[in-house]
């Protein structure tokens, strides 16, 4: 091992290397071994084995941190592995695995089953890795683009579907635009500090007045770029269209993986390098959070397309998570971490049920397509009820835990008005979530097409459902994990 690539570097980078190797292998073997479309579902095994290897590599990092504490720095501090980033890596790993498991049936039905899909989602996961672990602006930006570019392709993956193509183009244009903002903000930060390392930037930022025009411009542009990615209002315009047009499995991945990764970066920046300038960013984040909850909730009320409805609901959730950052105390931050974890499972679960509604010739995206699901398939309907209750934040589901911590964080930091708003929006949210519940439980079924299902779907449904309940009923270990992740 040379000075350019030490053993520590290897230790830190190993999960990504494994993922990238398996991703490339998937692309190659797709042509060599599986020319027949029906065999392509075996490619899921590439994904699963790749994730298993990456999981082992992550586990070694985890046990190292458990034993020695602190952080592991690699590549002269460009990458760090600490509790915070590991927490997110586990979320990305779980998310990608679940998305992989639910995808094959969906694409087979659509006759768009291509092997590179599995490679692409693993590559997106590599990008996410750098977003959560990156401690240096260029590394972070490359990670962000790796993830974003993969998602542009994935959103347009239904080549024969006009809506999918339109969504991809829209997402590409707006996403590219937002990346530009982010890069601009990064360049100013570099100008201020003369370094791309977040540690150096933190020192430079601390020495400046928060409302120094240059710094303020940097903060504002960075926030705009990231608000785009986490789909917070008023930068949410792409969300409903991209969510609606993208293949449902990709929508699930986009709404969970991409959002979690961007939030990881946002949290790292706002609680790390930019924490001393909180006077500057706090009002911006408060405004965006309130607007996100307002736009998300009230726009969702009128939606008839379930994917669009969940898109607006995800805007609303972005608002709640941002409020946890506003609280700027450990409870609020713990709330953010738990919320992201819980959101990953409950939102994936909800999209998973929608995925199984789609079958040959039926989009399964209208609220009416849920009609009478309780009669057709009680398991799907009951799990969906759990996910929706959790999304709304009703105890004892997991969603309540996230909201609870964020409310508490807001009350502790004296943001009473924000807390009241956040609490009342729960009642608005229940209204549109229960439109889905109403369709499933009280309406007569219109067609007797049973939900499509597969072993992977069943397994994923069980995992997300059980976790959504388990985190709510017995949150202690998860709370400890979240607490561990934010103690540095």
């Amino acid at each position: 091992m040379s000075v350019y690539y030490s053993s520590t570097d290897h230790f830190v980078l190993l999960p990504v290397i494994l993922l990238a190797l398996f991703a490339c292998a998937t692309l190659l073997f797709d042509f060599w071994l599986f020319p027949d479309a029906r065999q392509r579902r075996f490619l899921v095994w590439f994904l699963l084995i790749g994730e298993a290897f990456a999981g082992v590599a992550l586990w070694r990092q985890q046990s190292f941190l458990n034993d020695h504490g602190g952080t592991i720095q690699a590549f002269n501090g460009s990458l760090v592995v600490d509790g915070f980033s590991l927490y997110f890596h586990w979320i990305f790993l779980a998310t990608t695995t679940i998305v992989g498991l639910i995808s094959y049936r969906y694409f087979e039905v659509r006759e768009e089953h291509h092997g590179e899909y599995y490679g692409l989602i693993m590559l997106a996961q590599c990008g996410m890795f750098f977003l959560a672990s990156g401690n240096e602006l260029v590394t972070i930006f490359i990670g962000l683009e790796t993830m974003a570019v993969t998602f542009y392709i994935l959103v347009g993956f239904l080549r024969k579907d006009k809506r999918s193509n339109e969504a991809a183009l829209k997402y590409l244009l707006l996403g590219g635009f937002s990346s530009g903002f982010l890069a601009y903000g990064f360049s100013i930060l570099y100008g201020i500090s003369g370094s791309t390392k977040l540690n150096d930037i933190a020192i430079a930022v601390a020495g400046r007045d928060p409302f120094d025009p240059l710094l303020y411009l940097a903060i504002a542009t960075i926030l705009v770029g990231l608000f785009f990615k986490v789909s917070a209002a008023p930068f949410h315009m792409w969300t409903p269209d991209a969510y609606e047009g993208a293949p449902t499995v990709v929508t699930a991945y986009l709404s969970v993986g991409s959002k979690a990764a961007s939030l990881a970066l946002l949290v790292r920046l706002l609680t790390g390098a930019l924490s001393t300038a909180h006077a500057a960013w706090e009002p911006l984040v408060i405004g965006v959070a309130l607007l996100s909850m307002t736009v998300g909730n009230f726009a969702a009320v009128t939606q008839t397309n379930t994917k669009r409805l969940l898109a607006y609901s995800s805007i609303n959730h972005a608002g709640y998570i941002l409020l946890g950052l506003v609280a700027r105390n450990s409870i609020g931050l713990e709330g953010v971490m738990i919320y992201i974890l819980v959101y990953a499972f409950m939102n994936l679960g909800a999209f998973l049920v929608l995925t199984s509604l789609a079958s040959k010739g039926i989009a399964g995206e209208d609220i009416n397509d849920l009609n009478g699901l309780m009669q057709k398939s009680p398991a799907h309907a009951l799990w969906m009820l759990v996910f929706l209750l959790s999304l709304a934040g009703i105890p004892p589901t997991a969603g309540f835990l996230g909201k609870y911590l964020i409310f508490l964080g807001l009350l502790q930091s004296g943001h009473y008005v924000l807390a009241i708003f956040a609490a009342l929006y729960v009642a608005v949210a229940i209204y549109y979530y229960f439109r889905l519940v109403r369709a499933m439980f009280t309406q007569k079924q219109e067609s007797d097409v049973a939900p499509t299902t597969s072993l992977g779907l069943k397994f994923a449904l069980g995992v997300t459902g059980v976790l959504t309940l388990a985190i709510g009923v017995y949150p202690e270990p998860w709370l400890r994990f979240a607490q561990w992740s934010i103690t540095r």
Binding site: P395, P396, F400, I420, A423, A427, P475, R480
Partner: protein
């Protein structure tokens, strides 16, 4: 050593529910049978509570304690005192009768129906026995979901509207209450250095009046919507009217009591200064009186039989809240007894409506008349239910209303004067309803062939009638059970508020037995 009797009471319906889920959906008879058995078991396991409850003891009994979420200071902490014991008994009895009364009226999706009732039973019992605030909140919210489905699936023509209205109203109140809970929790951590949701720990807090008032209003929204008190009552007529009979029974008999119970258990002891604050007490009392009169007047003009009963609930619950905010022994214990009474009598009234609705599929009052000729037994049962609701001496309603009035009179004579007016109106709308439907000649030919009560319907009504009469004739055991816990609450409110103890109120309670005696005399 801990006894697990309360956990058994809490989880028996849940166990019943799990077994129910294993029964195949086509086997309707077995489902019905099992649901009734599970509900009856739920009642039977609660009987030992009553037998081994020691009313001479202070504080909570049958306490069980286990860590639930240690890092948030949440415990699985349950226990009962006299107040919650009565509520638990009310819940288990009414829960069983509600399920029993659905035997013939529900023919559609029975498995889900009974599953919802059993799940609801868990939530309701949980609300009344929780001594940990987050546990309480969990059960509080848990109750909403089954009720949404009970109204939304098996309800009347406007069921979906009524169901979501019920859900949204109570949820909005609930989340604001949560903010109040979290404020107390956070204040406690600041004063004592650790987090806990335990109610008796939170009572050690000394909070400035201003903060208490804020928290009081947060709690108020949660509880007042549930009760419902006057400006928040609009969900109730819709929900009651659209719900299936058993749903209305549970809603009236138990769910509304969660609100009044909340005031007694949480608002008063946790926020004594705010609860004794003159402005707050006046506002609450005025809202209660408006509720009493408004509910009664609106009942007078109803054309729908069930809606009339629904609005009468607003009026009766007004008495309950008025009694609570009289803040003296008579007022509060009267209020609790009246809550039980309302559960019995309004539960019966809803069942009475259900009986006729099952036969005629209409509830328009003008469709009926002279039913006493064709259904004499039914007319007797209805008469008892009506008279108990109107507060006739020797029946249960009288004991509660009289004690509340006595408490209100001690607190403020003008309140009592207005409340008495409510009793008169109450007698008016109920007697008039009875006259229009039961007495006179048979006005509608369709009513001629109606069958009288079946043995099963008798079996539902009989326990309620017996219960109503025993409370009416001999209410002393109830006052005895309530004496200690209520005295404790009254003492706490008055002591913390530094108010001089008024004569006749507070710890010395000669009036309790006098009331019982007077009730017997009349």
């Amino acid at each position: 050593m801990q006894s697990h009797i309360l956990s058994i009471v809490l989880f028996t319906p849940l166990a019943g529910l799990l077994v129910l889920l294993l029964i195949p959906g086509q086997n309707k008879l077995l489902i019905r049978l099992w649901a009734n058995i599970a509900a009856a078991l739920g009642f039977l396991v609660s009987v030992p509570l009553l037998l081994s409850f020691d009313k001479a003891k202070d504080g909570y009994q049958f306490v069980e304690r286990a860590d639930w979420i240690p890092s948030l200071g949440v415990q699985y902490l349950i226990g009962v005192d006299g107040i919650s014991l009565l509520m638990v008994m009310l819940t288990t009895v009414m829960g069983f009768l509600a399920i029993f009364s659905s035997w013939t009226s529900i023919k559609d999706r029975e498995k889900e129906y009974y599953a919802m009732f059993l799940l609801q039973q868990v939530g309701m019992v949980g609300v009344f026995i929780s001594l940990d605030f987050l546990l309480f909140y969990t059960f509080w919210e848990l109750v909403l979901v089954p009720m949404y489905f009970i109204i939304g699936i098996w309800g009347g023509p406007r069921k979906l509207y009524a169901a979501i209205k019920f859900f949204l109203y109570t949820l909005a109140g609930g989340v604001l209450m949560l903010l109040g809970i979290l404020t107390l929790y956070f204040q406690y951590a600041q004063q004592f250095g650790h987090y806990t949701f335990e109610i008796s720990e939170l009572m050690k807090l000394s909070l400035p009046l201003g903060l208490q008032q804020w928290v009081f209003w947060a709690f108020f929204l949660g509880f007042a919507i549930k009760v419902p008190m006057f400006p928040f009552h609009t969900w109730l007529p819709d929900a009651h009217t659209e719900a299936p009979t058993a749903g209305s029974v549970i809603l009236a008999a138990v769910l509304l009591k969660m609100g009044t119970y909340g005031f007694i258990r949480f608002s008063l002891p946790l926020l004594p200064n705010a609860s004794a604050d003159k402005t707050i007490v006046t506002i609450l009392a005025v809202l209660s009186i408006i509720g009493i009169l408004y509910g009664a007047l609106v009942s007078l003009v109803q054309k729908d039989w069930k809606k009339l009963v629904a609005y009468s609930s607003v009026s009766h619950l007004g008495f309950c809240t008025l009694g609570i905010f009289a803040l003296n022994q008579n007022g509060i214990s009267g209020s609790i007894i009246q809550q039980i009474n309302h559960g019995i009598s309004t539960g019966m009234l809803f069942l009475v409506v259900g009986v006729i609705y099952e036969r005629r599929h209409t509830r328009e009052i003008k469709e009926f008349g002279g039913l006493a000729h064709v259904m004499p037994n039914y007319a007797i049962v209805f008469a008892i239910a009506m008279l108990s609701s109107a507060g006739l001496p020797l029946l249960n309603g009288f004991v509660g209303e009289f004690t509340i009035l006595q408490g209100a009179f001690e607190a403020n004579k003008i309140w009592a004067a207005f409340a008495v007016l409510g009793i008169i109106f109450g007698a008016a709308y109920l007697l008039w309803l009875y006259q229009r439907t039961m007495l006179g000649e048979i006005t509608n030919e369709k009513n001629r062939g109606l069958k009288d009560l079946s043995w099963r319907e008798w079996a539902i009504f009989l326990p309620l009638i017996i219960w109503a009469v025993t409370i009416g004739v001999y209410p002393k055991p109830y006052f005895d059970i309530l004496e200690k816990p209520v005295a404790q609450i009254v003492h706490r409110v008055h002591q913390s508020a530094n108010m001089p103890l008024a004569a006749g109120a507070g710890l010395s309670v000669p009036s309790v037995t006098t009331v019982a005696a007077e009730a017997r005399v009349r």
